[in-house]
């Protein structure tokens, strides 16, 4: 059903994990803050449309990994804040391990042949 609207250069699952991980380290955060942080950490290597963040946040909320609440930002604007749930924390842990394993396996393949 989903159209190809999210034309990001990153895999969907990857963006999800980035969001979860960022929330874990920063605590409650609004969408703009999250977008900025993700761009910062990736040091501009990612060509991320900030807009694609919102469908991802929706997906995570539907799965019960994050919850949201309206609050006030540091610049005194009304904004929606996202926060990791307990299930979200477990998910970060699980996904991180999966990623580490994948990366390790890939690294072995990509090592120059001896």
């Amino acid at each position: 059903m989903s159209t190809g609207a999210a034309k990001s250069d990153i895999l969907q699952g990857t963006l999800d994990l980035m969001v979860l991980r960022t929330l874990e380290s920063m605590g409650p955060q609004h969408g703009f803050g999250l977008a900025k942080r993700i761009q910062q950490i990736s040091e501009g290597a990612l060509d991320l449309n900030q807009g694609t963040l919102y469908p991802a946040l929706l997906r995570l909320e539907q799965r019960g990994w994050v919850r949201s609440e309206w609050g006030t930002s540091e610049s005194n604007r009304k904004a929606k804040f996202y926060e990791l749930t307990r299930a979200g924390r477990r998910q970060v842990e699980r996904e991180s391990k999966d990623w580490e394993r994948t990366v390790a396996v890939m690294a072995r393949f990509l090592r120059p042949a001896e």
Partner: protein, 887 residues
Amino acid sequence: MMAWWKRIAAFFQGARLDRDLEDEIAAHLAMQEDEFRQRGMSAPQARAEARREFGGVAQAAEAYRQGRGLPWLETAVKDARYAWRGLARNPGFTVAAVLSLALGIGANTAIFSMYHALLMRTLPVSHPEQLVTLYRTGGWGRGFSSYPLYREVRGRTDLFSGTIGRTGIEKTSFRNGDSTPSETAQVEYVTGNYFAMLGVPPAIGRVFTDDDNRTPKAHPLAVLSYDFWQRRFGGASAVLGETVTSGTERVTVIGVAARGFRGVEVDRHPDFWEPAMMAGEDPANPSSFWLWIIGRRQPGVTISQARAAIEVLFQQRLAALYGSNPNSGFRKTAMAQHIEVREGGVGLSSLRESFATPLTILMVAVWLVLLAACANVANLLLARGAARQKEIAVRLSLGATRARLVRQSLTESLLLAAAGTAAGTLLAWWGERGILRFLPAASGNPFDAAPDGTVLAFTIAIAVLAVALFGLAPAWRSTAIDPAECIKSGGAQGGRRASTLRHILVVAQVAFSSMLVVLAALFGHSLAALRSVDLGFRNQNTIAFSLDMPDNWKADRTSSVRGDFLVRMESLPGVTMVSFGEPGPYQGGYSSISVRVPGSQLTAHEPSWVNTQRVAPQYFDIIGSRPVLGREFTVSDTSQSPKVAIVNESFLRMFVPGELHPLDRVLNFDEQKPDPVAIVGVVRDIPHQGLREKIEPTMYLPLTQSPASFGAVLLRSERPAGELAPAIRREAERLGPEVSASIPRTIRQRIDESIFQDRLVATVGGFFGGLALLLAAIGLYGVMAYSAARRAREIGIRIAMGAKRSTVLWMVLRGSLALVIGGLAIGVPVSLVAARKVAPVLFGIRAGDSLAFASTVSVLLAVGLAAALIPARRAASTEPMRVLRQE
């Protein structure tokens, strides 16, 4: 799981969540703008840059929305709204389509729900599919068997794992306590294993066992039905052990049967059960037929195996009982009996036999109605599709996919079908009531059940089928256009294939309609033939009601009670003449007697069977049938005077050759006791047994010389039967609780009831036939009007070139006639095949009845002309200049 739940929740809060998302995106953009401005951008620059960073706001929002709710459902709702607006804009189209569908769906639901109740629904007992009923035929009466035969069948445990016997359901007066009023209740007498074999447990208390059914008149016990227990006793468990009065017996309530169990009959339901030994019948008499046998087949025993085995058993019994009977006529009748083993799981129904054929015919008819209705709606949809070609072309060129347009069009069809189903269900409810009015008053009603799951499923299936039938092809056709071509030509580009499809649909419609009209005409003609049967009497307004006395009364008591009653009837205001007959006209039942007629070759070697009727003086006067010879009985024909008889014309033709005057004949009933009976009169043939029955040689005997305990009181009255009814009931009640009188009705009403199947099929068939004609006319009109409009330019040129207007008129009419003839070419041969199938229920006409077929063809041709008349005249009055200027 949770994700789905949130999606469903989101679906219903769409508007609020949309606002939330807008706010969130606005906040995001504002914060980004703030940041850019702090870095020194100008306000407009910061704003543009923020939006660039964000990517497409609309795309993000759309992706978000798609992920949020149930997109397919949202589209469906959007389509439904769109379709709704479209339908509301075209009320004429919508009403025509919904009515057509309501008709097709309603007719199917009504007939199917009756068909299902009568022929398909199984009894609420354990493993109904194993049950069989033993149906006795030939000899005397039908269905019921004797108690000794029941015992013998029950012994055949190789065939049946259980065998029960039960009487018919009988009326009785019921009273509990001394103060409560008595009411007429229904009782069924059953063998002790009845409930156990059917697998019906008690709701409270206990049910019968074999120990409750051992000795005649020794088990005054009753088990109540759940419904009766609720209605009469309010479901109180104190009813157990209570002594109640059933007729003249005091019986003790021992239990209540499980909820939902209403006996083994479909049309009638007992209020309570008593052991068969309490029925007042002789369980040792092998010639007394009062018990209906139902068996449960052993696993692995087929119905045909059971049938063969039971027939052998029964024939052995018959041979032992009657094989050496000296009366050869009696022996022949007695030995000609058989037992049929029939499917029993659907319960017993006296209505089923007479009603199954008409219902099956009507099932076919309503299918044709549905098909004709669907063809009609498909045609209307195509016409609408043609009118909306331009709109469709624009949408296609704006990027709508064809699948999306087809889907929208199907949504519209679904909406129409839903409205049609709703209206059709109402129509079905109303139609069913109309059909029930045809059933004889005494036949009971098996159709009282609340809406049934199966019927509901059937209706929905029919509706979905209808959508597939009428919606798919038009949706596909209407969207098959080349948008560029269409827009260039200003929408006038005709889907040539769409127009062909419309012609095919109209031809199909005419074909369906002609089949329905043939059926209606056949049944109408058959009914007319039945109606014109010579009744042999004139006064159909004579009022008749049955008056039954107990069998165990002595003959003189019966006749004196009846005599007093008839005198009181004579004194009722408005009553001018009173008589009595057994069994009476169109009351059902008959008796027969073996007789020797001196001088007749037929009875020279052995006596012949003739029907007998016992009648009082003035019987023939009151029904308006003057004797053709001699006289009818008078008060001077008493039990002391010489024995007399009246015979009908069939009797005369069969037994009395011409040499001797009939009134000089003397009949002999029995060689052993010579007791001569003189023929004093000859009357017309009266089809007492029903209009369809062959008239039997009949002998009328005076009541005074041949007593009868039951029969019908006949009244000639200046007041209608309904007005007399209360007075008659009062007088009958004075005779005591053992005497029962039926509701007074005219002989005409009884005749109507006796041919209810014919009247029902003819009336309902005629109704559907008329509607099908109307649908065909609408379809023809639509196609002709459309094609005439499309050919307006061509017609204008023809007229400008000097074509006569009458030629143009005929050209359009001819087109319509061609369609009708095409439809008839399919419909008439198929109807001929169908007519052969229904031939057995037709009366007095053949399947290929020329009147029915000729009238169908001419009616449809006339409809074809009438439907095309307006378009044809419009075409003929075309002003060439105006049409050509429009280009």
